[in-house]
């Protein structure tokens, strides 16, 4: 197949063959990252702008690294250092950046749908790097990539996602990337943080972590986003940690070769015990490495010539 997408706004409308196409492209990109000279000239002369309205180190650095490995010029705008703090609207900010003729705009924004909005008003390609509680497509793809690399397949695996399901854009992208490839997904967290509607996606919902973890092949622990807990969804962090934190005895319920993932940054001692965060079954750092390859694949696929003319 040929890649015909101009934007990557979310995985909700990705067909399985498109997901597979990105994964396959990422495999070639990963090979580039094993070379002595980890750079190819594919995006020479192209400009990638990272426009981040929320704090992020990992994702922004990952996109920046991905762009640079492909020889693109990468420019970072972050909300704390720009005119956004001076009251400029999102559209004005984006239009001003567009006037400088970037090819790809990578955006993270606290409002769901912000990237979709920009894609209707700008002519460059838009990549969603996380919008509110909606989607984080590159994370969904890199989670899939990491699991495929560790397990060789995704179909039929029991994958438990534990934590703040309600506010998690990672879950909403993982549901599409992992769910569409045939994983059996379990979503687990305090009842206040697991929306009933998510049962429609085919995932199994539970508030009992033992049930979620039992015989699981993959356990994805989500970060408790303290900055998003405006109302109390659980009594205290300590209680949350005692009931939903992953530790050695709980982990022993999973399959022997089970792996642990986390989108980062980890609240050590809250979602994950120190011991598990650093054990050899933890793929947390593999996820970071996969992230660069997957984002290189996305940037490369979006930088193809003809859609600039559309």
């Amino acid at each position: 197949m040929e890649w015909r997408r101009r934007h990557v706004l979310g995985l909700s409308d990705f067909r399985p063959e498109e997901i597979e196409f990105v994964i396959d492209t990422a495999r070639s990109m990963e090979e580039v990252l094993t070379r002595d000279i980890k750079k190819v000239p594919a995006l020479r002369g192209k400009t990638v702008v990272n426009l981040f309205f929320e704090a992020s180190t990992r994702t922004r650095t990952s996109f920046e690294m991905a762009g640079k490995r492909l020889s693109a010029d990468v420019v970072n705008f972050s909300s704390s250092t720009s005119s956004i703090t001076k009251g400029e609207t999102l559209l004005d900010t984006a239009r001003n950046i567009e006037a400088m003729k970037p090819n790809i705009l990578v955006i993270r924004h606290p409002a769901s749908g912000a990237p979709h909005f920009l894609s209707r008003h700008l002519s460059c390609s838009i990549v969603n790097a996380g919008d509110g509680a909606n989607e984080h497509p590159s994370q969904g793809l890199l989670d899939l990539y990491t699991i495929l690399k560790a397990k060789g397949k995704v179909a039929g695996l029991k994958i438990a996602i534990v934590g703040d399901i309600l506010h998690s854009r990672v879950v909403r992208s993982d549901l599409h990337s992992l769910g569409r490839m045939g994983a059996k997904l379990w979503l687990c967290g305090p009842a206040t943080l697991v929306p009933r509607e998510m049962a429609r996606t085919g995932a199994t919902l539970t508030s009992d972590i033992r049930e979620a973890v039992r015989d699981a092949d993959v356990i994805i622990m989500l970060r408790i986003q303290l900055e998003r807990q405006k109302t109390s969804y659980f009594p205290s962090l300590r209680e949350y940690s005692r009931m939903y934190g992953l530790n050695r005895p709980l982990f022993s319920l999973a399959k022997d070769d089970a792996v642990i993932m986390h989108p980062g940054p980890i609240n050590r001692g809250v979602e994950l015990s120190d011991e598990l965060a650093d054990c050899h079954q933890s793929l947390v750092l593999d996820q970071v490495a996969s992230g660069v390859a997957v984002r290189m694949a996305l940037l490369y696929l979006l930088a193809g010539g003809s859609h600039a003319a559309h």
Binding site: D24, T25, V32, I37, A42, G304, G305, S306
Partner: protein, 186 residues
């Protein structure tokens, strides 16, 4: 619609003989196979480099390292090309430093693929030299590039395409010339 005329340039036996001669030329010029590595350009060069590797083993008793390179990320027309197509694999699981790299491709045409392949190789190390072996040289060069080993020189027009089939049963290997609408077939 009229069926485009097809002209056979080489049949199975012909390809076999030409590759035997190429292999002997490579070994003669390099005085054996001790410092040689083979790198096929994806996709057309890969099966050819496998055949050459087997022939070197038969003649010299040496198993030379062989890899392959995909030049897509090094193309000079990425920005102009249509929608992105699937990347192929690159696999050079050995050091090319101080080696004599024999770059293998099926058809030499504009020379742009070879330029891209040489740039790719340079990212893997510093070879002692790079030599180019092609099965067919069809002319129409757009860059100052020539092959060190040529199987067959075939004068073509830009409206023709050279098809090389060197996979599966050796008796069914073939090289033929067909007419195409656009100047494809590099």
């Amino acid at each position: 619609m009229k069926i485009p005329p097809v002209k056979t340039i080489l049949d199975g036996k012909g390809v076999e003989r030409v590759l035997s001669r190429l292999t002997h030329e490579i070994l003669e010029k390099n005085k054996g196979a001790s410092e040689i590595v083979l790198v096929g350009i994806a996709s057309g060069g890969i099966p050819l480099s496998r055949v050459i590797r087997k022939k070197i083993l038969a003649i010299e008793g040496v198993e030379v390292p062989a890899g392959f390179v995909d030049i897509t990320l090094y193309r000079d027309d990425l920005a102009k090309a249509g929608y992105q197509t699937r990347l192929k694999r690159t696999e050079i699981p050995f050091s090319i430093d101080e080696k004599k790299v024999i770059l293998v491709d099926d058809v030499l045409y504009t020379g742009r693929t070879i330029r891209a392949a040489m740039d790719a190789l340079m990212d893997f190390g510093r070879p002692r030299n790079i030599q180019l072996a092609v099965l067919i040289d069809r002319g129409h060069r757009e860059l100052p590039i020539r092959a060190d080993y040529v199987g067959r020189n075939v004068p073509t027009s830009r409206f023709e395409t050279v098809e090389v089939r060197v996979e599966g049963n050796p008796e069914e290997w073939s090289v033929f010339l067909a007419e195409t609408p656009a100047g494809k077939g590099e």
